[in-house]
Amino acid sequence: MTKLSDSTSAPVIEVREVSRSFQSVQKKPGFRGALGLLFRPEKTVHEALKKVSFSIEPGSFNGLIGANGAGKTTLLKILSGLIPPTAGEARVLGYEPFLRSIEFRHQIALVMGQKAQLWWDLPAVDAFDLLRAIYEVPLPIYRERLELLAELLDVKRHLHTQIRRLSLGERMKMELIGALLHWPKVIFLDEPTIGLDVLAAHKLREFLREFNLREKATIILTSHNMEDIERLCSRVLILRSGELIYDGEPTGLTGKEERRLRIRFLQRPSLDELSECAGIPKEQIHFTHGTEAESLAAHLSVRQGQIVPILQRLFARFQVVDMGLEEQTLEAVIQRLYEQDRIQGDSRP
């Protein structure tokens, strides 16, 4: 028996020092590369997760974000039991996920926006019928749930249509219904709104919020769409190159009192000069990357009360071409974090 506790107040997910590395074969181009691959394959090890630790409370809605390759999906795969961690320990609902006990599998669901789980040539209702039997859902309860989910997601009229004939948004909704029919306690959603239009994504978000509130299911959502995160998640975990760099409320990232001051100079000052003149740490200053004109602009994260004195000092010392004041949006904060990741990545040997 792998279950540790049944207490509802205890964290539903516990991750301690979890690391995961992957070994892959490097495939070089050309005939020599093909021969090399046959006789002497060159293997490299990539660390997808590095000593990640956190815990998740029951009934919470959590966002897991990070740039491509940051380790989000790897973490979800470990938590859902698809792959084991290389080191560390993960517990979901008190179970060790990779052992995939039948009881554990009855209580979780994983939806991957890029991986269809329903059968292409069959109508959704056929797949749901099979899932009902697999999860041993009594028929009256199944009918009630299907009715409710189809109603909430507005797909009742499509239940008898072949999956392959549905639009991407409708297919995603069917995937969600298939994943939720057994009323899982923990739901992992990997980019569920990928490829959806604004309306479909909005409806899906509303549904997820409603389901979380109504059923108190614990949800971990990964998404590149910051609107998903801002509207749904009370907590955000940010992964960068396999490391957990932020764990807290989304507002903690944007900083309610913080503003983003954008200034374009005639001649680009050095980071040291700008930091010294503005009187703020270098970490709060970011130069824009891009064209020559764009590279003359800097973004300064400052508090509301600092804006006027900083501007006065900058105008006195540098030639400023134009300026603007921006709200700190989650999207902008995350974009900067990604940019830092890219710069770090680019400077690696």
């Binding site: 039991g81 991957m112 991986k115 099979l130 990997d190």
Partner: protein, 266 residues
């Protein structure tokens, strides 16, 4: 219904619905796979006996060969499908993840879903076999039913071997060529192309040491009355031992292999 039976019955139903989603495709597959091997055999026997002037080959006359060809077609229809290829592809592409999190055995689930149409074909072949037994004479309905049981067991064994081989995908990413080689060997050693009595006595051990003869040759021999009931029971016992041994092998290879699964593709 018992829940253990419930999901299996639902899986069979779902698999059958999937296989028959496109009717023309479904029927042309059955007819094509029955006609092509039968036609090859008939042309071959005609050349050997009518044009070549042979009267008997390995103790079998032209009529015996024709009977073998007709009856063996019924059992080659029941022979294993391509679910093992599906398993291998799922390991390679990461779609296995869709099934690993369901609270049922993935190996059994894939088998049942893919076997559903074969079971229907087995039923139809059984009816045809019973009609043929009356037409050809000599073969009792009991023999035809027993032979069909052996053919269905052969179907299970075929998948079990494929399920073990597909775990190579956990190590080498792709198990396609191994499964392909297995199918080529099966087409020769199952007796679906030629009766295995054509093998010289000194080479009999080759097909006897594999379970493939239980797919088509064994059932055909029994249905045509060329095996005694005792011989049939002996081979049925061998089939059971293979099934049991392979069941253990599947559990072992999957338990070890799954640790290397990468769940690629998103």
């Amino acid at each position: 219904m018992n829940t253990a039976l419930d999901w299996r019955a639902a899986t069979l139903k779902n698999g059958f619905r999937d296989a028959t989603a496109y009717r023309v495709e479904f029927f042309s597959d059955i007819v094509g796979s029955a006609i092509v091997p039968a036609a090859i055999q008939l042309v071959f026997w005609h050349a050997l006996f009518t044009l070549g002037g042979a009267t008997e080959v390995a103790g079998m006359t032209f009529t015996d060969m024709i009977h073998y060809t007709i009856v063996s077609v019924l059992f080659s229809q029941v022979r294993g499908g391509d679910q093992d290829f599906e398993l291998g592809e799922m390991i390679r592409t990461g779609t296995l993840s869709n099934y690993l999190l369901r609270p049922v055995s993935v190996v059994e689930f894939i088998y049942l879903r893919g076997a559903a149409p074969r079971f229907l074909i087995a039923g139809l072949s059984l009816i045809l076999g019973l009609i043929l037994s009356l037409w050809l004479g000599g073969a009792s309905p009991v023999r035809v039913c027993g032979a069909m049981v052996m053919a269905v067991m052969g179907n299970v064994i075929h998948y079990q071997i494929g399920a073990v081989l597909s775990t190579m995908g956990f190590y080498w990413e792709d198990a396609y060529s191994m499964l392909m080689v297995k199918n080529l060997v099966v087409s020769i050693l199952s007796g679906e192309l030629l009766p295995l009595n054509l093998f010289p006595a000194s080479m009999r051990w080759i097909w006897e040491s594999t379970p493939f003869y239980l797919y088509v040759f064994g059932p055909t021999q029994y249905a045509l009355g060329r095996w005694t009931h005792l011989e049939f029971l002996h081979h049925l016992g061998i089939a059971l031992i293979w099934m049991l041994g392979l069941w253990f092998l599947i559990r072992m290879t999957w338990k070890i292999g799954i640790r290397r699964y990468l769940s690629l593709g998103g």
